[in-house]
């Protein structure tokens, strides 16, 4: 019997096509009769759209059409929906102002869609877009959420006169107040979680086409969840029958959350393709990605931690103002609430927690899920607070964590989650050894001799992945199910095609899911192919977000596999003239217990499709099963990170001297792929801490960081090589024992880096990104104070 494929470093099946230019991304698809769309976007953060004159643009060479919000309204095209209804502390539903795909009378952020020009070529469309004459009346704008809630601030939507979409709370306020009243020490921090711009390297793109022959649509789109895209677009915006619309998300060049959502462009090209009877393609330029992809984070938080005299956490109180942007993006409402407040227990036994969140509209791009989505924000609050508390209490930061770790499972937190399993001391022990924490004082001393400042910081994070279960989420306002679908299609000669509702845009599902199936069926991994991203091929799917693919999508495949094997046992029993109860199955071999009789998986498959010797009276031919899997609980990946930095006080430049991460992702299917996910996540988190910060001009609302020159995603020499390891407490409630690994690095890294920098500088807090300028100024301010 071959060694298990679960846990094997199998090279990726998808790599050959990507390495040879054979990938097919949305913009690579050019259809017969292709036309090209360019959007006219608002140059103002807030402006009345008084009139739009199309004539000049329509007369330009190659132009086929110009559409505005008026045209969409006349065609009864609806607004973009929000997928999660938040109920406020007042018992009222959140304010849901209309989100038209093209502006109706008012533009609400720089980059808001005002019109679309469609032409024979992209350059013709681009030229003509300059000729659309929009008469704007600029209005005062507000971009900062803390300012937007002040009296007299410009109003983004009439439906929300105080700019508040909701005030939401979780936890026992009275218990928290009581605990604070008897605390020996309270640590307080005001924390800004900097706004980020996602920047997948493939810009968003969409290519819609309509076929009059069968009255159907096809949309190719750079998207993480094509079935959800189709459902939202058909049912809520275009009013089309779902079976007449095919959505294909082909190869997708990175998502990080930003390609979950239904965007205006997707709707407009689909609608326009029918008006013109020709396919309409739009591909974002990078500058459009900067202004129009849903941004991430942007929290202003006041956080307090109450402790007894030994540093035991008694209670936590958190108030957050979350910037939602100008409109509610698809899942924008849920990110700073259910994906944030519920994570504030971290790895600790804090018995009472109360969190209140104001979700606020501003004249900025919509804000939604970005790698980690709410959990990085929560982790940053908890881990900055804990590290600061340790310093104030003069307790070693590792020790204060140990004193408060949850040690028995399952554990019910005061913020609604039940952690199924974990071993937080195991990862902390391992990472401290790996990072040689014991040797740090010596390294600090040595650095000081060279005139450098050295600091060390921890994160011990928890995350909740594989959002679940559907009925609980539904009761909390989710407007979608949270299951996943999978299908295992065994071909007559025993090779297998797997169809999954998950979507891979870099995660390597074509390999890991094939490993799962090949392992169970005793097949070489080459005999299993995985298909994803096409609503015409896959029965349904919720797609990929929240590190859910292996835990939820993989589990659906396992469920389908179980059905395949159950049917295979029946067939094998018939073939070997044994009773079904005596058939044992082990990695591709059906055996009659206690005998040497056996049938290989391929023989059973063949019998199912060529049923000459087959129990046709009892069993249908064929070997093809599908399954839906709805998780019983979230999964809870956790881990411990140590970051060591060295700062040049003359320049303020921070260098990451060492970054060690020990994660517990439960069972691991392919360690090579898991490591790659962690590297990427850590770099995303280090980017947030050191280089990335979205800035809008506070007066004009212009995006000041609208290119890779102004908004610095990490380059190769901004990050170190990482030291990684894992510990394993298998998830207790899914069949693979997996937890998810895609977001961990982005969740844990920012606090570790900032804890290290504040340690090096001896300051309480520093805003992210800690650019050379920020650090240099802090050093100067420190010197003055001293």
């Amino acid at each position: 019997m071959a060694a298990s494929l679960i846990g094997a470093r199998v090279e990726r099946k998808e790599d050959y096509r990507f390495l040879t230019g054979g990938g097919q991304y949305t913009d690579d698809i050019t259809l017969p009769g292709q036309t090209y769309a360019v959007f006219v976007r608002s140059p103002h953060a807030r402006a009345k759209v008084k009139s739009i004159k199309k004539d000049k643009a329509l007369k330009a060479p190659g132009v086929l059409a110009v559409y505005t919000g008026e045209d969409l309204a006349a065609a009864k095209v609806g607004g973009l929906p929000c997928g999660w209804l938040i109920t406020g502390t007042d018992g009222q539903p959140m304010k849901e102002p209309p989100h038209p795909p093209l502006a109706q009378g008012e533009a609400r952020y720089v980059g808001d869609h005002v019109a679309v020009v469609i032409a024979e070529s992209q350059s013709a469309a681009r030229d003509a877009a300059e000729l659309v004459q929009v008469d704007y009346e600029p209005l005062p704008a507000v971009v900062n959420a803390s300012k937007a809630v002040q009296k007299g601030a410009p109003v983004v939507h009439e439906a929300a006169p105080d700019n508040k979409c909701y005030t939401w709370a979780l936890g026992d306020k009275a218990a928290v107040d009581a605990a604070f009243a008897k605390a020996a020490h309270v640590t307080k921090l005001d924390i800004v979680n900097n706004r980020l711009i996602p920047n997948a390297i493939e810009p968003r793109a969409a290519n819609g086409s309509y076929s009059r022959a069968d009255d159907s649509y096809t949309l190719y789109v750079a998207n993480q969840n094509p079935h959800v895209e189709r459902l939202l677009m058909t049912a809520f915006v275009l009013g089309l029958p779902e079976h007449k619309v095919r959505v294909v998300a082909p190869d997708v060049g990175g998502g990080f959350g930003s390609k979950i959502f239904l965007y205006a462009e997707d709707v407009v090209v689909t609608w326009a393709s029918r008006q013109l009877g020709r396919p309409v393609k739009w591909t974002a330029e990078r500058s459009e990605s900067f202004v129009s992809d849903a941004h991430g984070r942007d929290h202003h938080t006041a956080a307090e931690l109450a402790m007894d005299k030994d540093g035991k956490f008694l209670a936590m109180r958190v108030h957050t103002i979350a910037n939602l942007g100008a409109y509610l993006s698809t899942f924008g409402s849920s990110v700073p609430t259910y994906l944030y407040g519920t994570l504030l227990a971290g790895q600790y036994t804090t018995p009472a927690i109360y969190v209140e969140v104001d979700g606020v509209f501003t004249n900025t791009a919509p804000v939604d899920a970005l790698r980690g989505a709410g959990r990085p924000e929560a982790t940053y609050v908890v881990e900055r607070l804990v590290e600061t508390a340790a310093r104030e209490m003069k307790i070693d930061p590792a020790e204060i964590r140990r004193r408060n770790f949850i040690k028995t499972f399952p554990y019910q937190t005061p913020v609604a989650l039940t952690y199924d399993t974990g071993d937080y001391e195991a990862t902390l022990d391992a990472v401290m050894k790996m990072a040689d924490v014991a040797g740090f004082p010596k390294r600090k001393e040595e650095a000081a001799k060279r005139g450098k400042l050295r600091g060390l910081g921890y994160t011990t994070y928890i995350e909740a992945c594989g959002l679940a279960p559907s009925n609980v989420a539904g009761a909390l306002g989710a407007r979608a199910g949270l299951y996943e679908a999978g299908e295992v299609r065994v071909h007559p000669t025993g090779s297998v095609t797997v169809f999954t509702g998950s979507h891979s845009h870099g995660q390597g599902h074509e390999t890991t899911f094939a490993q799962v199936v090949a392992d169970k069926l005793g097949l070489p991994v080459e005999n299993v192919d995985v298909v994803h991203g096409d609503t015409s091929k896959i029965l349904f799917g919720m797609g990929t977000y929240g590190s859910r693919s292996a835990a939820v999508g993989g589990s659906a495949i396992v469920k389908a596999l179980d059905k395949v094997i159950a049917k295979g046992k029946k067939i094998a029993a018939h073939l070997m003239e044994a009773s079904e109860g005596d058939i044992e199955y082990d990695k591709g071999v059906f055996k009659v217990a206690g005998t040497d009789k056996q049938k290989m998986f391929g023989e059973v498959a063949f019998a199912a499709y060529v049923p000459h010797n087959y129990p046709l009276d009892k069993l249908e031919p064929g070997l093809n099963e599908n399954a839906f899997y709805d998780p019983a609980n979230f999964t809870y990946p956790a881990g411990s990170y140590v970051c060591e930095v060295e700062i040049d006080p003359d320049t303020g430049v921070t260098k990451i001297a060492n970054f060690c991460a020990v994660d517990d992702f439960g069972k691991i299917i392919n360690p090579m792929i898991v490591e790659g996910q962690v590297h990427g996540g850590l770099t995303h988190g280090i980017g947030q801490a050191l280089t990335e910060g979205c800035r809008y001009d506070p007066e004009t609302g212009q995006l000041l960081t609208g290119s890779f020159g102004d908004y610095c995603i990490p380059r190769a020499d901004d990050v170190p090589s990482f030291q990684l390891d894992t510990r394993e407490t298998p998830c207790t409630h899914n069949p693979l024992g997996v937890k998810g690994c895609g977001e961990a690095g982005a969740i844990g890294a920012p606090a570790a880096v900032m804890n290290a920098i504040t340690d090096a500088l001896g300051v309480k807090d520093l805003p992210m990104p800690a650019t050379a300028e920020t650090v240099w100024k802090a050093i100067r301010a420190n010197r003055k104070a001293a």
């Binding site: 990507f18 390297i201 990427g680």
Partner: protein
């Protein structure tokens, strides 16, 4: 204004009438249908559009097709052997998991090959500095750096 451009792409002579303002990357993608060369930023920062021109890595989004008149262009489609065997640098990216979504990969590989020609035994630091013009959002560069170091060695050994 239409102009005629002629060049050699992946060893084959090509020529076409294009608008004078046509970028080299547009020519490669739209006229030649070689869609392995990608556009990630339009501003010469991300490097997804990198191709080899007369043996040197260049960013095809930042030059006109006309500027490549008579040139010898190599795109990612021409890097592997005709029988499909991967170039040592491509093989190293696969072995070391130096790619995830694959979008930056063609530009990374072309840049890496150009770099490796002049730096057979490059250090990690040198590789990281050499990647200044290529952005990746997936891998955190860790495995790309490993792949380029291994690929450079393999290229030197294959000489």
């Amino acid at each position: 204004m239409a102009v005629k451009v002629s060049m050699k792409v992946n060893g084959k002579p090509v020529s076409a009438e294009v608008e004078a303002r046509t970028l080299l990357v547009t020519f490669i993608r739209e006229q030649l249908h070689l869609t392995g060369t990608h556009v990630g930023c339009d501003t010469a920062q991300c490097g997804a559009c990198t191709v080899e021109m007369n043996g040197k890595a260049v960013k095809s989004c930042s030059m006109l097709a006309m500027q490549a008149e008579g040139a010898d262009i190599l795109t990612i489609e021409g890097v592997a052997k005709a029988d499909g065997t991967l170039h040592p640098m491509q093989a190293a990216f696969k072995e070391h998991h130096g790619l995830q979504c694959g979008f930056c990969t063609p530009g990374m590989v072309i840049s890496a090959i150009d770099f490796a020609k002049g730096h057979p035994g490059a250090s990690e630091k040198e590789v990281r500095e050499a990647l200044e013009g290529n952005l990746c959002r997936c891998t955190g560069y860790h495995n790309i750096v490993k792949a380029i170091m291994a690929g450079s060695k393999a290229m030197a050994a294959a000489k």
